[in-house]
Subunit: 435 residues, 2 copies
């Protein structure tokens, strides 16, 4: 093995137990929320045919960000999935008999050929919930509510859900303001969070727009905040445009259901992916300022690209990787729990190993997670190992315990030591565990 210690590939990560314990806890909370809305679990392969993924994400992903490879035997091209949405669209097309609306969640890894940097990985987990088959605002409202409940369940303190609609953007910028190619303007607007109002103004001026147009755009992107007021401003300004009116009616109905003080309508929200066709949403934390931690929207065209018929769809992706980074930074998450073990059976006298083994078995049968010494170390060393892992309860077995049929339990945190008969050990340990 040349080059020193072996490593995971660059941009890929190992998740050691203390990280996995946190990740599993958070993902199971998310699953709980997804299932509470009746979303069902789905899994699709990590690998898809290249032609399944190609032409769905735009130029950059296609040419650079998708891991693709050729099977040397068949010559066929494959790719690692780049997200969970295109595989969903493919799945729906593969299963034409699926009962609609089809509501699924999918928690799984995706792969991107990113240049690795802080917070950006080549392999990461996405947590998506989507509704396929409903064109109605109540489906979008469910997605917004789900996003709110998800971030709440993850215990993050302050956040906002920003909402906009692709049809509003198109109606206002393309039809009313008459931009054939509004992309440079969207790009400028998209930087609002990073560069502020004056920064956006300068970017727009740099595009060579007349001063009155710049002022117009600056007014439009000032429409953000409580949905009722923003809807009113947009309706007053552009309510005569048909696309705008359609979007406003949809949003109004959707936001009257997804009613939460943290949901805002925000005309400066643009979002990247090409495939959105209706409402779009993004969740941002008050602190730390790390961009969005969830995003989604309606994409009525994508499933049809596979299925050959129009199938509406809307969904959200919870950015668990960023959320974990944020939660650790905020101190609401920690990596302090290093093991699932709750009890370490410390064998003080090897002659009584069978008794210790039996005690461990009894504790396990009682629902506890139990390690027993496997290294024939001294009692001292066993204690040190257990304490290094942070195992909360020690169960000592020596001649005294084995001959008397009991266990000596010890909790450092509670400063308590107690001898209990084997038959009462489960209850006694439960009492010593941190709540």
């Amino acid at each position: 093995m040349a080059g020193g210690r072996p490593r995971p590939p660059r941009g890929f990560r190992d998740f050691p137990p203390e990280v996995m314990i946190l990740r599993k806890r958070l993902l199971s909370r998310l699953e709980r929320v997804f299932e509470s809305y009746g979303f069902d679990p789905l899994d699709t392969p990590a690998v898809e045919y290249w032609e399944t993924l190609s032409g769905k994400y735009g130029e950059e992903a296609e040419s650079r960000l998708i891991w693709r490879f050729q099977d040397p035997w068949s010559g066929r091209w494959y790719a690692l999935r780049y997200d969970l949405t295109v595989p969903l669209a493919r799945f729906v097309a593969s299963n034409p008999g699926l009962p609609m609306p089809f509501k699924r969640y999918h928690i799984g890894k995706v792969w991107r050929h990113e240049e690795p940097q802080k917070g950006r990985y080549r392999e990461f987990v996405q947590c998506d919930a989507d509704i396929v088959g409903s064109p109605y605002p109540e489906a979008d409202a469910e997605i917004v509510s789900l996003a709110v409940d998800s971030i709440d369940a993850l215990g993050l303190p302050g956040f906002r859900v920003r909402v906009n609609d692709r049809r509003l953007l198109a109606g206002v910028f393309e039809e009313e303001l008459g931009f054939d190619n509004p992309l440079p303007i969207y790009r400028a607007i998209d930087k609002l969070d990073k560069i502020g109002v004056e920064g956006v103004r300068r970017e727009l001026e740099r595009l060579g727009l007349p001063g009155s147009t710049v002022e117009r755009i600056m007014e439009i992107i000032s429409w953000r905040g409580r949905p009722g007021e923003v809807l009113e401003s947009v309706r007053r300004g552009y309510g005569s445009n048909e696309k705008v009116r359609e979007a406003l009616d949809h949003l109004e109905e959707m936001l009257s259901l997804a009613d939460d003080k943290r949901v805002e309508l925000d005309m400066s929200l643009v979002r990247g992916l090409d495939y959105y066709t209706g409402p779009i949403l993004e969740v941002v934390l008050d602190e730390p300022r790390i961009g969005s931690v969830a995003g989604g929207g309606r994409y009525d065209g994508l499933v049809g690209m596979f299925a050959g018929r129009d199938i509406p769809a809307t969904g959200v992706s919870i950015g668990i990787e960023r959320i974990i980074d944020a939660g650790l930074e905020l101190g609401v998450y920690s990596l302090d729990v290093k093991t699932v073990a709750q009890v370490a059976v410390v064998v003080l006298d090897r002659r009584y190993y069978r008794y210790a083994w039996e005690a461990a078995r009894i504790l396990r049968r009682g629902g506890l997670n139990v390690r027993i010494d496997l290294s024939r170390a001294s009692g001292q060393v066993q204690r040190r190992k257990a304490s290094r892992l942070g195992i909360p309860v020690l169960a000592f077995v020596g001649a005294k315990e084995a001959e008397g049929g009991f266990l000596t339990l010890y909790s450092a945190a509670k400063g308590e030591r107690v001898a209990v008969p084997l038959g009462e050990a489960v209850k006694a340990v439960e009492r010593l565990l941190p709540s």
Copy 2:
């Protein structure tokens, strides 16, 4: 999209909700058992550098079964992991400060470039538990006990755990019987389950062995069954061989701890993978006869290949894919549960949708999984959709319910219909759910 309906790649599978619901239930039972022994969760990347995997599995895997691919930008070779054991060995070497023994479980996908056929896939889930850092029989005993508890937890009725030891095989066949290359003999023995005693005899004769040697081997592989008796036979036959004696002492201690009537010592157990160095084990079901559903053993050399120092290790891999196939065949598992949803809110009058939405929210807050109509279908159609998914409880909302502040609940299975105030709805639904 030429060629009709899009599909997952050949040999790869989608897991629709009814399959995922079963898989998640079984995997969470396995996790429960793994954690009860104090094994901690670990995850490593799906992708490793090719040089990490190469030279670890033997010729066939290396030349044909590993999905490998070159990054066109860096020219570097990568591979999809072929199992979870080599990544574990790499992880241990990547983290020299890891507290020992390191006990981890890993449930994750692996990829093999198999020719797809019934029960053989190119992507499947492995469920591994390993102990790194203990050379002692108690570690192997823990692995055997874990295997027994795992299969028990999965609810499979009849099974046996077959145990042998690589050192026994080496001591007897290489040193005592003097075979320089015992592989053809091992291959013949390995077929015992499939071709029976006489079949093995014919295979051995076909190898051109003298009749007395064939009889000797036939006697050796007849040593299988209750550990005490088999140990005695082997000790009587070959106890003077040092390797054999070492293995017998180790097995004796291990089997006295992993004491279960379904554990058998079996001199005909060989197992394939090159890297085993001590005890080996395999779990086989009484019915159906589908080969082993779990396997493992001690591999003291593998971690050292990465770490540059000897690190003992032992573990087991639970073959969840085969177990699911077997459980479905036996009828102990079913795919009848098609959704996690427990309640379908049926909206009989669209004017009261907001009330229905609020009712759904209250039921969710009470811990229930609730779908609400998102397709503006008639009450009739909503009922049919709910019944097709097998959602056990319907909650009707019409003018009567909304104006009176209650819900009409209906369970087809219990043949019960009841009107309850919204505040009592959670309890009432719980009573109507199947137990």
